[in-house]
Amino acid sequence: MKQKISALLFGTALTLAASGALAQDKTVKVGVLTDNSGLYSDLGGAGSTLAAQMAIEDSGLAAKGWKIDLISADHQNKPDIATTIARQWIDVEKVDIFMDVLNSGVALAVNNLVKEKNAVMINTGAATSDLTNAQCSPNTIHWVYDTYMLANSTGQALVKSGGDTWYFLTADYAFGHALERDTAAVVTKSGGKVIGNVRHPLNSSDFSSFLLQAQASKAKIVGMANAGGDTTNTIKQASEFGIVAGGQKLAGLLLFITDVHSLGLKVAQGLNFTETFYWDLNDDTRAFSKRFSERMKNKAMPSMVQAGVYSGLVHYFKTLDAMGGNPHDGIKVVEKMKAAPTDDPLFGKGTIRADGRKLHPAYLFEVKKPAESKGPWDYYKLIGTTPGDQAFRPLSESACPLVKK
């Protein structure tokens, strides 16, 4: 009797498994894990969720029988909170793909979990280049920018134009350290010299002490290895202490359009920095940004992080469409994504490398003078472009185990 029952059960299980394989599973869940309330919420936050929503609507997958769900959560820039949410998302909510995941500390923590659980992460928000170097993962694609690229583009340009002595003002966590390290390497390689640094706690409001130290160093360039509210406050207070008037130059190593908007052109004019997306690059970016801005509560234009969420999902959905279903094996999906060249309206044509690095051009911008700006959000002048294959860390220097040498 016992044998009979177990045989029956075994048979049922086989049938179920077989029917599961035959009928394609066409459900997928997108999770936008970002800073919804803190200092980075303008450059990611609700805008990233909106970008994901637009990518889902534009994908046309619903018409092909796909069911796509979207959820979003606030990781509060805390790696422990982020991993708790991520664990719950994977185990309970069955999230297949993590988008945005800004903040390098958070990204590195979630990166490990996503690998362990075989999900997918397209990171569009974090800066640390470790995501595709020593910490690279077969489940992660780093989409928009990284510290190596920023250092390479902005750092090199500034040393070339005569800024050969540097002092770093660095946010004291994974991202700031990575950005300082990568930029210092570029500066030294290009013949410049780093003469000092000071590390400030994340989310400081007063930078005058640090700025005085930078001023006393007499370095030609004060490199700001920080982001978001920290950068805007540094720039604002630097003008108060006459840093630029005294002949030193500020280098914004990571600036977003939302930062420039917040500073106003009067304070921000003349700053040089690198981004990989600007809303006013071409007709495609303008069309998307107009649609995006109309749906934003404060009518903001998309930052490169938010644009990256859209662009990353466009490629992800194309891959799912080609696969026809069963999107739950993270490594397999990412392999398929790496195999196909990318092409979307925001970042143009590109490729994804074996180490998970997405390649596209990097643009060196200068902030316009108030008189040059024709209207709200008209902030940047393009002054240089580095092609995608030269902008990022070459594979020959990579410490990523996924790269076959």
């Binding site: 309330s37 303008d42 936050g45 130290q213 509210g229 500073l263 009067k266």
Partner: protein
């Protein structure tokens, strides 16, 4: 050595914000027995008020220094009349939770409409530029902040400790029934006191608007430090909070020079030490 002088001065500047904010807290705690967690949010409202005055009505910095504290002060008095007054006589915890809730709501509403990066507010033309002091470049605006907040702090101290009005107020907190018997309207006085404390927070907000971005979370970042200042100085002690405010600014400034990574925590380390040695704070009297 030169760098050290500069750090001392910068510390004094930050100290003046701590002093102004902790003074407001001390006034409110000393007179109303409320731990006002909404103080940071009200400070932020002061800065936003200055921003709105400039951008919507074209009213500049100087009038804003007077108008913003009054507007936010009135908002505070409405809070006191409609909510806080019902908590008098209850445990401190209730006031703390209520004001904390108010702070979260106010910040949430502002963040919903203005995002997190903040809005620009320029330094008034009269105070632009700076002086070379030999050992550092002092922005004139920062100098003005130190002088002005020192004057406001001392004036508040004088008002509460040395005038007849202040005496009535202090008497009312000791024994409200008796003071009422002398024909003094105690509830109205308490409302006005809360308004004064809130007005001080808003004034600090206007002062800081040209230095920091006007951001919904600007108060949340500051309020915890300010509470530590109040605790170190002694809850409810007016002079204690003024002196601690300035001196903690200086200590923090020195930490930023000698060991910058610890600059966010040094105030709390001091708070723990003070509480261990003298639980009532440096100038506090035993309850």
């Amino acid at each position: 050595m030169q760098a050290l002088y500069a750090q001392l001065l910068v510390g004094l500047i930050n100290g003046s914000f701590y002093a102004l904010l902790s003074l407001g807290l001390a006034v409110i705690f000393g007179m109303l027995n409320i731990i006002n967690f909404a103080h940071g949010a009200l400070y932020m409202m002061g800065a936003f008020c200055a921003y709105f005055l400039l951008n919507l009505a074209g009213i500049g910095y100087w009038p804003a220094l007077i108008i913003a504290p009054i507007v936010v002060g009135i908002f505070g008095m409405i809070l006191e009349r409609t909510m806080l007054q019902w908590l008098s006589g209850l445990d401190h915890l209730y006031g703390l939770l209520l004001t904390f809730g108010i702070a979260l709501i106010v910040q949430g509403v502002f963040q919903n409409y203005f995002g997190s990066s903040g809005l620009p507010y320029a330094i008034p033309d009269e105070l632009k530029g700076g002086m070379n002091l030999g050992f550092m470049f002092l922005p004139i605006y920062r100098g003005w902040v130190v002088v002005f907040s020192l004057i406001v702090c001392l004036a508040t101290w004088y008002l509460i400790e040395k005038t007849r009005l202040g005496a009535n107020l202090r008497a009312a907190t000791e024994n409200p029934t008796l003071v009422r018997a002398f024909g003094i309207n105690v509830p109205r006085m308490i409302t006005l006191t809360y308004g004064l404390g809130v007005g001080l927070a808003a004034l600090a907000g206007v002062l800081s608007a040209p230095i920091n971005q006007v951001r919904p979370l600007m108060g949340a970042d500051l309020i915890i430090v300010v509470f530590a200042v109040v605790v170190i100085g002694g809850m409810g002690s007016i002079m204690g909070s003024i002196i601690t405010g300035f001196s903690l600014g200086v200590i923090e400034g020195l930490t930023k020079y000698f060991y910058p990574e610890a600059s966010n925590t040094v105030v709390f380390v001091l708070m723990v030490l003070v509480l261990l040695v003298k639980p009532t704070g440096l100038t506090g009297r035993a309850a």
